[in-house]
């Protein structure tokens, strides 16, 4: 069951991510492929017994970030305009893909050496309660800094996106 779920979710995540990159016609299609990737990744998190991260993934990524993307694409109403003839020359494409393939090879070589099997974890692992307790005791400074960062982000977005008033 878990094995089947893993393969289904992994293939969905990979296909979605390839759909994001490979879709040349319309950014909206890319955004919808991004939703598929995010939801599949949320499923993988739950499979890894990280329920809280999976929940946040659905709420923040699939719920908020992709909607923000779609909102901006539809607000700009620039269906493909300005991107015609915007393709990179083939040499750059080949070079980029080669660099990526070589680094993927070395990454997989490193990652495939000497892995232990999964350890047993206690039932509270990854629950909202466990993560919340850790966040508000050991990592409370990080939470405060994240709050300040979010405030700065909101203000910066408003200042950057507003029309000039003068």
């Amino acid at each position: 069951m878990r094995t089947a779920l893993f393969w289904i979710l992994s293939v969905a995540a990979l296909a979605g991510s390839i759909g994001v990159v490979g879709n040349v016609r319309n950014p909206i299609n890319s955004a919808l492929n991004l939703v598929v990737t995010m939801l599949a990744l949320a499923g993988l998190y739950v499979l890894l017994e990280a329920q809280f991260v999976g929940l946040i993934q659905v709420m923040v990524y699939a719920g908020a970030i992709v909607v923000l993307f779609l909102f901006v694409i539809m607000l700009l109403n620039l269906r493909g305009s300005g991107t015609a003839g915007a393709e990179v020359q083939p040499l750059v494409k080949i070079a980029g893909t080669a660099v990526v393939a070589i680094s993927a090879f070395f990454l997989l070589r490193v990652l495939s050496t000497g892995r232990a099997p999964w350890p047993d974890v206690d039932p509270s692992y990854g629950t909202t309660r466990a993560i919340g307790e850790a966040l508000y005791t050991d990592y409370v400074l990080a939470v405060q800094v994240a709050g300040v960062l979010l405030l700065a982000g909101i203000l910066a977005a408003v200042v950057l996106a507003k029309k000039r008033l003068d």
């Binding site: 995540a13 990524y61 993307f69 980029g96 974890v121 994240a146 982000g153 977005a157």
Partner: protein, 102 residues
């Protein structure tokens, strides 16, 4: 966990990250490049959570949570920059945004 090894999760994360890198390198549409950056962040998150499960400690999940917070802020600011780019230049092509000031 059935017969899935920790290594397989890392392979999935690495492949998604590579797709994101290829997207940033080959696409010239600002919004799609931005989505590819999101893909890379998500792949890093999957790797963190898988390592966290492999070690049996949930600190990696807290790190993934912080990455999500930063990604949310980054999307808000980045999309505002894109709106301002389109308003000033009327283009989504990254090659047209070659000047720091106009």
């Amino acid at each position: 966990m059935g017969d899935i090894s920790p290594f397989q999760f890392q392979v999935v994360a690495a492949l998604i990250f590579m797709v994101g890198v290829v997207g940033v390198l080959t696409r010239r549409n600002v919004i799609v490049m931005f989505m590819c950056i999101e893909l890379m962040l998500n792949a890093a998150n999957l790797s963190l959570v898988a390592f966290s499960r492999e070690v049996g400690d949930d600190q990696g999940q807290i790190f993934a949570f912080m990455v999500m917070v930063v990604a949310a802020v980054e999307v808000a600011v980045g999309l505002a920059i894109i709106i301002s780019l389109v308003r000033n230049r009327d283009t989504l092509n990254i090659e047209d945004a070659s000047q720091m000031k106009w």
